[in-house]
Structure formats: C-alpha cells, structure tokens
Symmetry: none
Subunit: 190 residues, 4 copies
DNA sequence: GATGAATGAGTATTCATTCAT
DNA sequence: AATGAATGAATACTCATTCAT
C-alpha cells in the first residue's frame, strides 16, 4: 500500500506538470504516462478516467485549505488576522508550486461538464468556509453584521483573480504582499 | 441579406446560446449552425474558425465595457461612484443576458491555447482600465496613494467571482446589490 | 460570341496559371475566378464543372498536336524527320509555356475518376497517331516492320518523361536537344 | 501479433488494393482499414498519415528496384543485357501485381504537394541509377559516349509509359515482350 | 450574362479507454 | 499490478456547385 500510494502520487505530480503546461484539454493520458514513467494502462489502475486525475488534484488541495481553515478557526485572533493567515498559506503554496496555481485557476471551468464533484467542492466549499468564518465573527460581536455571502464570494474571486494574473504574467512577486494588501482593504477600504 | 451583418449577428447569438449551455469544447459547429438556422458552411463565411466565434463574442463585450468606462471617466463623480456605475452596468448586462455572463466567466480559460487575442484583451484590458481610473483619482488627490495594480486585479477578480457564483447557482439576485456592496467595501472595508 | 469566346479563354488561361502552380486538387474554383477576375458563378456559365476546365485545357492541346501531325503526315519527309518535327513542335510549345507542360504531365492522372474523356483522348490518341504514322511508313516500305504499338507507347512515354523531368527540375534546357537526341536513338539506338 | 510487422504489412497490402482501385484521393482511411480488417485508429499506430502509407508503398518498391540494379551492376554482362534484366524484373513484378503497377504510374503526381520524399526518391533515384549504369559502361568503353542524362530520362519515361498503357487497358500482355523490344531499340533503333 | 452568399456532403485524424498478455 | 496495441466514436473545416438577384 505504501508502494501503491507512491504510484498514485507519482501520476498526480506528473499530471500537474503536464496539465499546467498544456492545459487539461491538450493533455493526453499518454503524455501523463510518459512523464510519470508508467504505461497508460497503469493510470487506469489508480484513476477511473483522465478527468479523475484532475479531480484528485483539486481534492488534495481542498483538503489542505480546509485543514488551514480549521486550524485558524480555533485560534484567538481577529477575523482579519485569521483571513490574512489563510491567504498567506494559500499564496505561499502557489509561489512554491506555480504549476499547481496554474491548474487551480485555469482548469476549474472543466467542472461544468458532468458532476465534477471535487472541483465544484473546491469552488463552492472554500467560499463557504470563509463565509462561516465571517459569520462566526459576527456572532461573537467581533465583526459588524454584513452580507457575508457576497463578501466571501468576492474575496474568493479576488484571490483567484490575483493568482490568475500572477500565473498569466508568470510573475509571482505580487503574491508576496497580496495577503496584507487584501486584508488592508477588508479593514478599511482603499 | 437586407441588413448588413445580420447573419454574423445571428450566428453570434446562436453561439452564445449554445456555448453557454454546453461549454465551448462541447459545442459543435453543427449545433451552432442549427441554432442559427444556417448551414455549417455559412459560419465559415463570417468566421475563420469555431474559436473565432468565441473571440468575437468577447470582443463585442469588451467594446461595451470600454465605452462605459470612457463615458464615466469624464464625469464629475467620485471614484467610488464611478466604479459603482461601471459595476452596475456590467451586472445589469449579465442579469439581462445570463448566457453571456456564463461565457464571460467560464470560457476565458480557453484563451491560453494560442494567441486568442480578443479574450486576452478582455481579461487584461479591463483590469488595466480600472487601474487607470484609480491612478487618475490619486493624481487628482481624490484618493490616497495605494497599490492600484493589486487592487484593480482583486476588484476584477471579485467581479468575476460574483458572476461565476451567480452563474453557478443560476441565481442572479445577488447581482442586484453586488455593485453597492462591493463599493461599500472599497470605501471602508467590511 | 467574340466576347464570350474571350471570357472562356480568359478562364482557361487563369486556370493554367493556378493549376500549374498548386496542382488540380489544390486549386479551388474561387482561386481560378480570382485569377481570371470574374465571379465563381461565371465559370459555370462556360464550364460545367471544375473538372471540365481541365478537360478543356487538354482538349485544346490535343487539337494542336493533331494538327501538327496532320500537317506532317502529307509531307515528303522520312519518318524520322516527321517525328523530329512533331517533337520539336511539342517541346517548343512547352518551353514557351512551362505552366502548360506542367499540367500536361502532372494532371493526367486525374483522368481516372470518371470518364474524363478529353484527358484520356490526349493520352490515348497521341500514341495512336504516332502509331499510325509508323504503320504508314511501314506500308510505304520506308520502315522495317516492327512492333509499332509498343514503340509508339514507349516514345510517348519518353516524351512525357522528359517533360516531367524538365518540369520537376524547372530547367527547360534539356528540351532544346531532346527531339534530335530522341530521334537519333530511334534511328540507330544508343 | 506473433510476427513482427505483420500488421504494417497487412495495411500496406490493403492500401495497395484499395488505392489501385479508386485512386489515392478517392481512397478513405476507413476503406483501407476495412480492407485490412483493422480499426481506423490502428492505421495511425503504424503510419503518421494517409499520405505516409503511399510513401511507404513507394519506398518498398524503390528498395526492390535498387537491389536489382545493385545485383546487375557487378555482373559481367553487356549494358544491353543489364538493362534488359532490370526491365524484365520490373515488368514481371507488375504483371504479378498489377495493382502495384497502377499505383506506381498513377499516384506519383501526388508527390508534388509537400516533401513527399519517398515518392520523389522513386522518381528521381531510378533514372539516376540507370544513368550511372550507362556512365559506367561508357567509362569501360563498352558504350559510345552519349547524353546519358537524357537517355536515362527517356528510358524511364518509356518504362512508365508502357506500364501506364498496360494498366490503362488492363492488358498486361504487352509487358511480356516489352523488355526485349525496348532493348532492341536501344541497340539499333527502330 | 454576371454575381457571390449559401449550401452541406464528405473525411483525415485524435485520443480516452479497454483488455489480453 | 503493469503493459501498450487496438479500438472507433466524434468533429472542425473545405469547397464545388447552385440560384436568387
């Protein structure tokens, strides 16, 4: 099982490399197999379909984000500090693995097709968790009542937009100050 | 063809309907032709490729947005009012033509492929124009100096994120208050 | 009618230019029309099909060759002189209009398709007329009896082969001595 | 696949059957696949394109002809005997596989398009090898100096013309005496 | 006669997935 | 578990021809 896990992980990494380079549609299972150094058929021992690989990539990342948010939730910090902590984690991850960032903002639209559960989870659950964070703060009188639904949506959009731009211009410096700047706006506008 | 360009417009509309429904990749030229009530070949009398249709859709919308921004730029209003005006226009357009909204947030990722100029223009020029708006306000001492590059990127991302969610949940009510709410944040945070 | 004839000729010339350049299959009726400065529809007032244009090109050339052969047939010359005269005419024509030569050797294979009468006429009738020339010489005791069927076929093949090579190397100098050299072989071998 | 290359050979044979029957342009990959009893996709596991199949057919035949010529070159025979031997081999091959002959004379014109290397090789290299044979004979004083360039071109043209006619009339009897007759002409004219 | 917009049948090629070894 | 040859459905695009003006 240790070995099996290794191979699935091997394919996941290969897929990230190739998909971030060519896009999901232009990526063939053959090229993923080649990058991973396995036969095409082997992919299908670990994933049910090409789409399944992409789902898995998103699922792994969603898991990480959820764990960050859970970790923060309990802490004795202001809502702004909590958000900044989360953003910092997210942007750092992408700075360290730009290929992943590329996929996270660019391949999400593939989710439309059928019920691409994992990707939709990522796109829906993250804003939701941010919303919950805000709601809890309001309950605790640590934040004025506000339209948390819209704010969490806008914030998630802003995050994605910033990553999109970094990825598009292949310049990840913007991500260094992004979390602080974004939170500054949340604190007192521009 | 009595009216010039009628047929190109006919195809554009048909394409919006079909692409918003199935996604660009799952849309066949045959289905666009059928929706438009023309032969496949006719499409190619007005567009050079299937991709060209999508480009044209984006180009038309970009044109509209640019004209809004030009109209506002000259007006004697605060930066916040200007942004709200622009957002209002954008969200209204999408409420009235949700199919278009769907395409505007979902099919942009197709732009990666080659030099999909029109789509990249839409994605790059709009943030840029917002940035210019902010810069001008700073010059005119109507706004405190700030990271306009990041803010315009975040704002454009927030806009896209909100449309994405409305489109995803097929509920466009959020768009009614979105412009006001977003500007409220820009004014004084959450 | 003078005018009508002009336009048909105009299209024939345009077709020769374009077909020799791109080959018959890669030539579109649109490009012929453009080269001729007429509308596509106009072509169909003078020809029943694209194929019909090619047929006409061959028919015109066949007519010329037949008239040469008729002219020679009556003359008081040796069979070798007669053949040389014919070859000279043929090669000269091609030197002066290489585009035509290109078509004459390269587009013949299109004839297979259906009953491309004119092209088959060119390919069949010319060897036949040479054969008749030879047969008449034998009757007149001016030539030893021989396999005129095979010889005329081989001679026509040799002619085509020489033009093919000139056309392929885009060097028409070979054609200057070709008629003399070929007849020399017919006279006494190599 | 027990025997290596079986499938490529299977497809080559099927392609010869179909192409000789309908011509290259009128042959669909689907029909080749059907004739070969494989799926269309399988063709593309062995050839890069439809055109590639035709190239391969020519390449195989060129190889055979080259080996004949090499075999003769060393022998202690007169130039006429050598040529006759080669012609005999060529014509026999075509008598035994008329489909192949059809392709060899009819589909060569496809070569124009791009760099259809194999077909051009066939058309260029064969005359060249004949020319070399003649040149060597001249060097060895076994043949009078003559325009070997033109003669080899004419001879190759004659060969092609004879096959063309046999193929056109679907009567391969002519090929029985063709080599002897042609060499007779080369020896002492008609 | 001239035009050229509209037509739509026709086809090479790709590639995710399978399954016998 | 691993392999990779075989599969065949799916689709953008072309272009000869027509015909209403």
């Amino acid at each position: 099982m240790g070995i099996q896990g290794n191979k699935k992980e091997l394919i996941r990494q290969a897929a990230i490399n190739i998909i971030s380079k060519y896009g999901f549609y232009n990526t063939t299972t053959a090229s993923i197999a080649e990058e991973a150094g396995v036969a095409v058929g082997t992919i299908y021992n670990y994933f049910t379909s090409k789409e399944g690989i992409l789902e898995y990539i998103f699922a792994v990342e969603l898991e990480k984000r959820i764990s960050y948010l859970k970790k923060i939730a309990g802490k004795d910090k202001s809502i702004y500090e909590k958000i900044e902590f989360f953003l910092e984690k997210h942007f750092t991850e992408i700075k360290e693995n730009p290929s992943l960032g590329r996929i996270l903002v660019r391949e999400k639209d593939f989710s439309r097709k059928k019920g691409n559960i994992a990707i939709n989870e990522y796109l829906n659950k993250l804003p939701l968790l941010i919303e919950e964070l805000l709601n809890k703060s309001i309950e605790e009188k640590a934040l004025e009542p506000c339209n948390t639904y819209l704010i969490s949506t806008a914030l998630f959009g802003a995050i994605q937009g910033i990553v999109e731009r970094a990825v598009g211009e292949d310049d990840f410096n913007m991500l260094n100050q992004a979390s602080r700047e974004l939170v500054k706006i949340l604190r007192k506008g521009i």
